[in-house]
Symmetry: C2
Subunit: 222 residues, 2 copies
DNA sequence: TGTACTCGATACGTTCCTGTATCGAGAGGA
DNA sequence: TCCTCTCGATACAGGAACGTATCGAGTACA
């Protein structure tokens, strides 16, 4: 076992190579978002990144491989951001925590498009599907401790952590499309937030030591 | 108003032409599901349908146009099915109605992939986005009367019809991915159903004339 | 049955993209 | 500073898909 190298088969990647890969991945995100993955070409990505196709084939073997690398990097970043925000902020209640979390995971048009296509892509390729399922699991493990803690502080005990986690992810995904489809509708955004609160409420019960039941959803703006 | 013709600018489509279009649309659905829209070619669709490219260009001007036509036809069919099922079945309670509805809108792998890509596609093209938003509206108008009626029979009054409708659609979309990502997990399916019931509960209140509050979610299987 | 016209098949030229093989600049180590 | 070897640029050949122009079978209608 070679001592310093972290991963077994990790070649010593030069700084130069790393920079090139970075720029290619960044360019790919933009191109995929604009053109769609299937309609994108190696040339488009290279042109956007300021390289020739030679650089591409020296770093990746196919667009598929690049697509996976790009998606993994970007979604890992988002997960880190989310983790950081949720760790720093000490929310006073579910509502505050929700706002912090929603701010950390903004509804991003371009990223949504890419993710939607990657999902479809992954559903066709079992290996990719497993990658995505693992990421989903990581998301749950990241957000749930904080969600549970925030609800606890609000006098509510989570009954089924896994179910709540999946529900939150599903609501996030499902409502994101709606917001993007009607970007100018404030009521869609409000209803999204309300739905989150309802779900938090439904999957938690008043703590024993709480004097009186404290519902998550206090007022209902309309 | 011309008596038999439904639409004003509808050319007299020959039966022959209609058949050809049908077969092309059917083939397109299959090809798009397998290859992805962006990766599909006119040739693939034609080969699958048993035509040459000449037939295609005689019926459509581009793959984009075919994609739209295919999506509209298929989603209109699904909406009709849903309407029929919901109209026929006289459910005794929310749970029964939910099962009927979920049976009418099965989680279909191939169709999900196509829809996901069409959504991404539509988000890039305002005209298509409007088409999709309109369909979404139609879905709401179809399911909501029945949902309201079923809940009413269960002694519950819907407080905000629009919000409930959007919530149901969001939950459907969001949980469908989860089911497809982990097709063998029974708990994911159960949690999906539970989430639906929770949402029905959250967006309705006990009717005045009801003797005692009747929550939608009676038992909780796990 | 005859005739006109629709509509799918065939053929063509063009454009775009792919993947590889080779070369040379320059980064990195001694 | 010199030397080595990595890595991106360049050039090449092949192939895939596009859109159009034209033709002829067979359909529809009188």
């Amino acid at each position: 076992m070679p001592p310093p190298e972290a991963r077994p088969n990790a070649r010593p990647v030069s700084a130069r190579r790393a920079r090139t890969r970075q720029r290619l991945l960044d360019a790919a995100l933009e191109v995929f978002a604009e053109e769609g993955f299937g309609r994108s070409t190696v040339e488009q990505v290279c042109e956007r990144a300021g390289f020739t196709r030679g650089a591409f084939y020296s770093n990746f073997t196919s667009l598929d491989e690049l697509f996976l690398a790009m998606w993994e990097r970007r979604s890992a970043h988002m997960l880190d951001d989310l983790r950081a925000v949720l760790a720093d902020v000490a929310p006073d209640g579910p509502r505050a925590a929700l706002h912090a979390a929603l701010a950390a995971v903004p509804v991003d048009d371009a990223w949504y498009r890419v993710t939607a296509e990657f999902t479809a892509h992954a559903l066709r390729h079992p290996a990719l599907r497993r990658v995505m399922a693992a990421r989903e699991q990581a998301i749950l493990e990241t957000i749930m401790p904080v969600v549970v803690a925030a609800l606890s502080r609000a006098g509510r005990r989570v009954t089924d952590e896994e179910a709540l986690g999946r529900a939150l992810v599903a609501v996030h995904d499902g409502t994101s499309v709606q917001v993007l489809m009607e970007p100018d509708s404030a009521s869609v955004r409000n209803q999204r937030e309300q739905l989150f609160l309802h779900v938090l409420d439904a999957y938690s019960a008043p703590s024993e030591h709480a004097a009186s039941p404290v519902p998550v959803t206090p007022e209902e703006p309309q």
